[in-house]
């Protein structure tokens, strides 16, 4: 055995040990990351899944013209001022006849959501012949009653219902007069002070319009800037200065972009507050550096041999860029764009500064309507005192996460699909 072989054998075991150790560190790091993710998801899903269903109660509703104060259901003015709560109250009192006194009656009426009244009005508007008839209807419960039913035995004692209300709820539960169903209002409504009536559609639409503005502005501007800097700009101090500043911009805290938006777009240009257009403009400024940097990296990754081949054939600079560099760099640019968009979708701080944190009930119909966005909705609900908003917050986070995961998956799939090997 030669000296070298002997030396090699001696060190071999140590080398393998080092390799194993290194691998173990890597596995450890990944496990910690996955564990944190798992923890986050179990916590959010554990809290949030309850917001996706809601309880309603079966009540014998009599559309009594006297109680409703409506004699002609075709008269819209009468419909508008109808006393629907009275009908619901009477139905509840009919179900629990023993309730005496104003306090008790009020506590009883509080079990059903005020949304029930709106529903009755809608029914009457659609079918006026209901007036004077009696129907068994499933009416939405108030958030506290809803939470009581959703809670486990142990937690029911701390529910925000009085003892009397709790006994009523238990009675209804035992006689199967309550049932759980999908929470439609979560996906069809805007924000509300009443948790059972609040939805995230307003925030989703606000996010959508904001993202639309951001995408339409930041992607073309970012790609154009990257192409110019990478392909056409002379290499001098000025372009170096620009490059340094683009990298700096990527590291600027997002709230500063919000202040800039407030000062420039709202203050100087007089744009309205709380609108997705301004939100999109601010997020464009914020995403631009990300898109420029990733687009430049994608352009740099185009093999020089392809450029040389095209130039050797007499293609002009413009032809090389448009026909070869851009198509080959596009997957990388798109990936960067989607990641930038995902970043913008999750951004809260700059939007607070431009007033997108307002309480807005109406669904926005365009980029010029006041709106809020998903992460800001999470922020708003998280700071609301009602117990139900805790689950609503988690539900909104789940919806936001779904969008983010979809976008990031799209980025990966797109890169895999469009990537060319040479």
């Amino acid at each position: 055995m030669s000296v070298t072989t002997e030396q090699v054998r001696k060190t071999l075991a140590r080398r393998y040990r080092a390799e194993k150790r290194f691998k173990a560190y890597g596995i450890c790091a990944i496990s910690i990351g996955l564990l944190a993710l798992l923890l986050l998801f179990t916590d959010i899903i554990g809290k949030g899944y309850r917001a996706f269903y809601e309880y309603s109660v079966a009540l014998q509703i009599t559309f009594d013209p006297e109680s409703l104060e409506i004699d002609d259901p075709r008269d819209l003015e009468q419909l508008q001022y109808g006393n629907y709560e009275a009908v619901v109250r009477e139905a509840l009192q009919a179900r629990f006849p023993g309730v005496e006194g104003r306090e008790g009656r009020r506590a009883l009426a509080a079990l059903v959501s005020t949304a029930a009244g709106y529903r009755l009005r809608e029914m009457l508007e659609n079918s006026p012949e209901l007036l004077g008839q009696t129907r068994t209807l499933w009416l939405q419960l108030n958030d506290d009653a809803d939470m009581f039913l959703k809670s486990s035995e142990a937690k029911r004692k701390t529910a925000r219902l009085s003892d009397q209300q709790q006994t009523w709820m238990l009675e209804l539960e035992q006689s199967d007069e309550v049932r759980a169903g999908f929470n439609h209002s979560l996906f069809t409504r805007g924000d509300s002070r009443e948790p059972e009536q609040a939805g995230i559609l307003g925030a989703i639409l606000g996010s959508f319009f904001t993202m639309l503005v951001t995408l339409a502005l930041s992607f073309p501007i970012g790609v154009a800037a990257a192409v110019y800097l990478e392909e056409f700009a002379p290499k001098n101090r000025f372009t170096d200065f620009i490059e340094v500043n683009i990298n700096n911009l990527a590291a600027v805290p997002s709230i500063i972009f919000g202040l800039l938006g407030l000062a420039v777009f709202i203050g100087l240009f007089g744009m309205p507050r709380s609108v997705p257009l301004v939100g999109g403009l601010v997020l464009t400024l914020m995403t631009l550096p990300t898109i420029i940097i990733s687009s430049r990296a994608a352009i740099k990754a185009v093999p020089p041999s392809i450029r040389q081949a095209a130039m050797g054939l007499g293609a002009s600079k413009m032809q090389v860029v448009l026909q070869f560099v851009l198509p080959l760099a596009l997957p990388g640019m798109l990936t960067g764009g989607i990641i930038g968009m995902a970043q913008a979708l999750g951004e809260t701080a700059p939007l607070l500064m431009i007033g997108m944190v307002a309480f807005i009930v109406e669904l926005p119909a365009g980029a010029m309507d006041a709106a809020t966005v998903l992460p800001v909705q999470v922020f708003l609900w998280a700071s609301s005192p009602e117990q139900s908003f805790v689950t609503m917050t988690s539900a909104a986070i789940m919806v936001l996460m779904t969008f983010l995961i979809t976008m990031n998956t799209l980025a990966v799939v797109m890169r895999k699909r469009l990537e060319r090997r040479w």
Partner: protein, 296 residues
């Protein structure tokens, strides 16, 4: 005699011939640049390309030192020499591919027939259509075989009708000896071809614009021997109708295919002459040591 005069005399005495210094530096591996006169026959009558006193700088470094030589009509000229001697750099001056390198600067006069290649008024697009180039590594576009060959004619507007374009594509592929292998799959990706086929496709692509001069930078440097043989056959055919300048590391290849050979060393053209003469009776001692394999 005053002090100043004494100093002058002293300086005269210590002055040495710079050529001697250069020689000494070359012995020790350093180089100090006083261009040597090219040995052999660097010039021809009525040349296709005429290069005089070409200097190329990369930033502060000089890569080519006063090279002067002619490329004759319809001849194959091989540029040989050790790595880093400036063969490729010199080749890339001939169609201004060096323009794409920011720090690169070219001095001297280069003419294609009577056209000054570095005339600021000259459009490089036009020049590169006349002086085609094939690179060391096959670099087909990530497009179909047809589109690879049709690209040049398309951007220069050489074919107005589809049938004309088809004809150009077929002729170019035939000249490159690739037609029979790919005629049934013209629309499949060029990247699916083998390395040797890709290189012949690149040659077909370079031929598609019918260039006056074809520059080849080690065209067989990264393909296998069988494919190399095919490319060499091809070059021999092409030399009947056109001018080819080929950079090669393979001396047998240079001997087989070229009419004249230039030996370059440290950015200078040491010797330029008839290929047979260079490989049998080299005049410059460095040429001799290089082709006999003493270095390089």
């Amino acid at each position: 005699m005053d002090i100043a005069e004494k100093m002058n005399v002293f300086q005269d005495a210590v002055q040495v011939d710079p050529r001697v210094v250069a020689q000494e530096h070359m012995m020790t591996g350093e180089n100090l640049y006083i261009p040597e006169k090219t040995v052999g026959a660097p010039f021809v009558d009525d040349p296709k390309m005429r290069m005089r006193d070409v200097n190329v700088f990369y930033g502060a470094d000089q890569a080519i030192h006063g090279v002067s030589l002619d490329i004759g009509k319809n001849e194959v000229v091989a540029l040989i020499g050790p790595s880093g001697c400036g063969k490729s750099t010199f080749l890339r001056c001939m169609n201004r591919m060096n323009d794409t390198i920011d720090i690169c600067r070219v001095e001297g006069s280069l003419h294609l027939e009577n056209q000054d290649i570095y005339d600021p008024k000259l459009d490089v697009v036009e020049l590169r259509a006349r002086v085609g180039m094939v690179f060391q590594k096959p670099n087909p576009f990530p497009k179909s075989i047809y589109d690879n060959v049709a690209y040049g004619p398309r951007i220069h507007g050489l074919a107005n009708r589809k049938t004309d374009l088809d004809e150009i594509v077929e002729n170019s592929l035939r000249k490159a000896g690739l037609w029979d292998e790919v005629k049934d799959r013209l629309n499949s990706s060029a990247l699916a071809l083998s390395g040797g086929q890709q290189q012949r496709l690149c040659i077909a692509r370079a031929l598609s614009t019918q260039p006056d001069v074809l520059l080849m930078d080690e065209p067989t440097g990264s393909i296998d021997p069988i494919a190399t043989a095919k490319v060499e056959d091809l070059l021999q055919e092409l030399s009947e109708t056109g001018t080819i300048v080929i950079v090669t590391h393979n001396m047998q290849q240079a001997a087989r295919i070229s009419h004249r050979t230039a030996f370059m060393y440290l950015g200078e053209a040491m010797e330029f002459g008839d290929t047979n003469q260079i490989f049998t009776t080299p005049r410059h001692p460095r040429t001799e040591s290089y082709i006999t394999g003493r270095y390089g």
